[in-house]
């Protein structure tokens, strides 16, 4: 090999090695937001966590207060699951003021964390993971080998220029080998799945069947609340296979848990988002609006599993004559006079002037319960669902992006009378409209 050709080869390799330094592997979802609804201190809050991309780094948290909102001072803190809080701030939520309260906290490490909200008598623990992308062993190896290529070839070049041909040849050969190693590793890495980001969960092996079902013990404190009083609804979830507390809930329709609490007669309705207060224990504070039997349905999703429903009942004591009369449910608009069981029906509701903001990632919800309180279903607004399916991230809760006409499709499973509640958000105020519909059997 002549000096000139050696020099040319070394230069070519040097240039290509610089150009080919592999980009760090893309870590999945390392920077994705966690958005969770919480019923906290009497207010429907949306808690949006904007994850840090490095540690130590800033965790931005937006608390979006929906109306009606109670005045409350919330202590917001963050801690790894294995230690005490590492940062804390306080937020004063103003009474009946629809707005976003932004806070910034510092996280120091990766992995599983709790965002904790505290107010007098209430605590909420929201799970999230701090993930930081990492290149992995292969990435470091490729980077190292590319660096070695550069160094060796630069030395070879120097050797060639100063007339040390043997040394130049030796270094050139070594450099070429380093380049082959680097290129091979880089190419192989590109075809491998990216390294799990630092702080990722130990992935389980639940497989397609998912984790065991959860069972619930649903109680109130006090056991029989009196009408007009505040009480705590407590949901204790245990694993159907092990009997351990279920503490692996993941965001499902933008909350850890959705609870629908209705009086059996359908005159009281609460759709709330219980707080995680201890392993397997969820709580929410409610005010008993109507006396009589109440039905509770809670929707949750365990990690590596699908959604599931658990249910329970409780009794509110008191005299119906002492509380204000509830609004009478209206006929469900936009549906035919005859709704037939088993066939999907289209529901179209005009919500009046003004655009609508998303809540729980959707423009609107239709919550459906049968007369007996045994069946509970919900439908999502079609336009926002289409956007969701097309891969558009739902807009922030403050963006008035939808409506004013909301469209749903739903199949009533059996004949009978159904109670239907429409829920949507306008000007950050949660609006609930009760309807009723009679469903008849399909003609034989």
């Amino acid at each position: 090999m002549s000096i000139r050709s050696l020099t040319a080869a070394a230069l070519a390799l040097l240039v290509s090695s610089v150009a080919a330094v592999p980009a760090a592997a893309h870590a999945p979802d390392a920077a994705a937001d966690t958005v969770l609804a919480q019923t906290f201190a009497g207010t429907e809050l949306t808690v949006a966590l904007r994850h840090p991309e490095r540690v130590p780094g800033p965790l931005r948290v937006d608390l979006i207060a929906h109306l009606p909102a109670a005045a409350v001072t919330i202590a917001v803190s963050v801690r790894p699951v294995t230690s005490d809080p590492v940062d804390a701030v306080t937020v004063s939520v103003e009474r009946d003021t629809a707005r976003t309260y932004p806070v910034e906290l510092t996280v120091r490490g990766t992995g599983a964390h709790w965002l904790e909200l505290r107010a007098p008598g209430e605590v909420s623990q929201l799970p999230f993971r701090v993930l930081v992308p990492r290149a992995g062993t292969a990435g470091w190896l490729a980077t190292g080998a590319f660096a070695a290529t550069g160094l060796l070839l630069a030395c070879a070049l120097a050797g060639a220029v100063t007339g040390r041909r043997a040394l130049a040849g030796l270094l050139g050969g070594a450099g070429a080998t380093a380049f082959v190693v680097a290129a091979t590793v880089a190419l192989l890495t590109a075809t491998l799945p990216p390294a799990a980001p630092e702080g990722a969960a130990l992935t389980g092996t639940a497989g397609p069947q998912g984790r065991p079902y959860a069972q619930a013990r649903i109680r109130t404190e006090p056991a029989t609340p009196a009408v007009g009083d505040e009480f705590t609804l407590r949901v204790e979830l245990t694993d159907g296979s092990t009997g351990r507390p279920v503490d692996d809930l993941v965001p499902h329709h933008a909350a850890l848990a959705h609870a629908v609490v209705t009086s059996l007669d359908g005159t009281a309705f609460h759709h709330v988002h219980p707080r995680r207060v201890a392993p397997g224990r969820l709580e929410v504070r409610l005010r008993a609006a109507r006396p009589g039997p109440h039905v509770v349905t809670v929707e949750v999703e365990r990690a590596e599993s699908g959604g599931q429903l658990v249910s329970g009942r409780f009794e509110v004591t008191g005299d119906a004559r002492t509380v204000a009369a509830p609004p009478l449910p209206q006929p469900l608009p936009g549906v035919p006079r005859d709704v037939v069981a088993g066939a999907p029906v289209r529901v179209e509701i005009d919500t009046g002037p003004g655009r609508i903001q998303p809540w729980l990632g959707m423009a609107g919800h239709l919550i459906v319960r049968d007369d007996a309180g045994a069946f509970l279903g919900h439908a999502h607004e079609l336009a926002s669902m289409n956007a969701d399916a097309a891969g558009f991230a739902p807009p922030d809760d403050t963006v008035a992006a939808y409506g004013p006409t909301l469209r749903f499709a739903f199949t009533f499973p059996a004949p009978g009378r159904y109670l239907v509640w429409l829920q949507y958000v306008r000007d950050l105020r949660l609006v609930t409209v009760p309807y009723a519909v009679n469903v008849r059997a399909e003609p034989a």
Binding site: T82, L170, G204
Partner: protein
Amino acid sequence: MRPRTLTATVAVLVLTLLGLAALETARSAPEPLRLHGIGERYAATVRLDRARTGTVEADIAVERRDGAAADAVTVTVAAAMPAMGHVTAELPGRQVGPDRFHARGELFAMPGAWQLDIRVRTAAVVDVITVDVRVDNGGG
């Protein structure tokens, strides 16, 4: 290619392969595992001789999170695999020092993502400290 160039090339290749092998060995070698977690009142540090199926030795140190002197406690350890719905029976911790316990027995039925439940019992409370542990039987 000259003989010396060839020698250098082979040397670099061999060294690279040796390095890769060393990395891989270091990654998969069974080594003692130190796990830390907190419960409502207690913090626990568990040292496992290995996170594998079969008999495992666990050294458990507990302390009050508020820094107060520990109450008279009993400590047990049990394992669960949430993904599969597996749970293993509690192993009693034998007290080997102030706030230090030793347990020996089978904890993990199969490789995968497990959790250890360290149960600290005092006259007043039962505190459960749960820590994640990856059980990997590696090549052996």
